[in-house]
Point group: C2
Chain length 365, copies 2
Amino acid sequence: MIEPGDLKALRMFDGMAPAEIWDVLIRKAPGTERWSPRLSETDPKRDLERAADVGARFIIPGDDEWPEQVDVLAEAGQLARRAGVPFGLWARGPLNLRTALDQSVAMVGSRASSSYGEHVAAELSSGLADNGFVVVSGGAYGIDAAAHRGALAASGATIAVLASGVDKFYPRRNSALLSLIAEQGLIVSELPLGFPPTKLRFLARNRLIAAATRGVVVIEAAARSGALNSAGWAEQCGRAVLAVPGPVTSRMSEGTHLLIRERGAVLVTNVAEIIEAISPLGTHLAPHRVVPTTPYDQLDHDHRRTLDAVPAHKAASAERIAIDAGLDLSTTRECLEYLADLSLVQRDETGWHLPPTTIEPDTTP
Amino acid sequence: MIEPGDLKALRMFDGMAPAEIWDVLIRKAPGTERWSPRLSETDPKRDLERAADVGARFIIPGDDEWPEQVDVLAEAGQLARRAGVPFGLWARGPLNLRTALDQSVAMVGSRASSSYGEHVAAELSSGLADNGFVVVSGGAYGIDAAAHRGALAASGATIAVLASGVDKFYPRRNSALLSLIAEQGLIVSELPLGFPPTKLRFLARNRLIAAATRGVVVIEAAARSGALNSAGWAEQCGRAVLAVPGPVTSRMSEGTHLLIRERGAVLVTNVAEIIEAISPLGTHLAPHRVVPTTPYDQLDHDHRRTLDAVPAHKAASAERIAIDAGLDLSTTRECLEYLADLSLVQRDETGWHLPPTTIEPDTTP
């Protein structure tokens, strides 16, 4: 019943368990006037009954299921006035919250996403799930939904962190998806059951997603968006900020390009690069793109010049090749013999030519 | 008649003018056997006549038109064995080579480009031309051609640096484009007239493009490509390396993403960002994306909570709003009055509500 990120409450109730806080509040202790009006509508017993109805549980610091990494919020981002460790988290679903979040990646982005963004979100999310990662997002339209669906499609685990109570699915048209996540993954919120989302609750929820995961992957975000807010929280929490590029002609990729250009986000294009970025330094290194090398690459300058001068179809004499290569005849002959040993050129009674199947490497721009 | 980047020639003829080198070669001085075979087919007088026929001129170090920035090649990239300052440059077209290159940007990329890449190349090139920059490229299919065309479409100047003689247009299907460049811009090459391109000449040409310009913009490049070779030369010459991102689903953008991720290239998305990157530090700063701020952004936490709790349609009492905001009544009343002063809320006989035209800022992900 205390708003997420209410710094006055965090200061006043620092270190107290929810039951103790409740006790102070109902006694209307001096200094608690700020929170009195809501008391009339707050009933922890009813809350717990409602929670039981939907199979939700309340997890508080110190519990086995408490994800200790969110404690980083005690320090992070006080300036933004929405910080603070939640007093507790409501969770609904079969996963163990702490274990699931230990190996988790946040994937966030625009609600007004393009089909490109949704495709990439689903692909990356499936790939992360295949690699044992839990994909965390906000249950919204667009990138969030595509990320959840990608993980589910790969039979992986996914967590939706809501800005409303865990029984209050928002947006409504995502209800079927959120129900599936409640059955197979986890729905998490710091808001009590029944509470609707508000703008501030969305912003406060973003801090939780950032703090709870090992890194935030942003896929499509307009220049002003909740996804950039999540990235800001990830920076403040010391989590990896990763951004997927897109066409520069798309407004939806403006935010991710801005993160890479101006805020030091790591550009990622595939699952391996994401895993590298959220793993301890030096582990899980993404394979470098395999650049095919050709025998041509191994040749020195004179051999390449000679090879460049050998015609593809009709044969040429060593003398002709020497002129075209701009080399003296004895160097040219030596090079031709060497290239023949490598089967890069062939000799017949009329002279030297390339073997029939030579494919030119793409070294011209 | 000496191959571009022939280090043996560079060492032997260091500091000599082309006429002196020619003199040494025709005397068949000791140590010049390497270059003898081609003498039989070399005729400087005929070269100059052919040049006159197509209106080409030969520019050597020390000439008024010599672009001194290419002298960086005396030091750069010896390890790659294709370095060295050209002995001279053939130029064909109305522009002054030195003046044109002073304000130039290279734009290179894949021959097998996508329509996205070609669109972006043409747009950026037009924009650079509009800002007085000369766009330099290699005259190839794909990105090169789109870059040249974009500059021409904006009535701007463009230079094609070829891996063949300036009278030998390659690829042939770009002849019309290259003729137009010869009429309105410049065709440049270190190869004598009549010489065809070879693989090594393409690579040597790339070093010239990098050395002659203020920076290289790579738009679409496969993981192994001439465009990445150009970027490598730009690094070695101390020129800016800029890369335009694209869809991660496109193989054609793999090279540009690799440049950004692994080789420190600057991600650029528009003309202003390119100009910033190739201008002296602190000048021509690209405008930061204008992020619209709303009155909501200026509010402190309690005001936002109050505003979040004010209903959009039917009015609510201050008591109801206090409960929904989770604040005490007097704080809520103060916040409501303040919000009313800013016209963010309205009061009527039934209570408080939002003004009819309030548009929600997109702060939710």
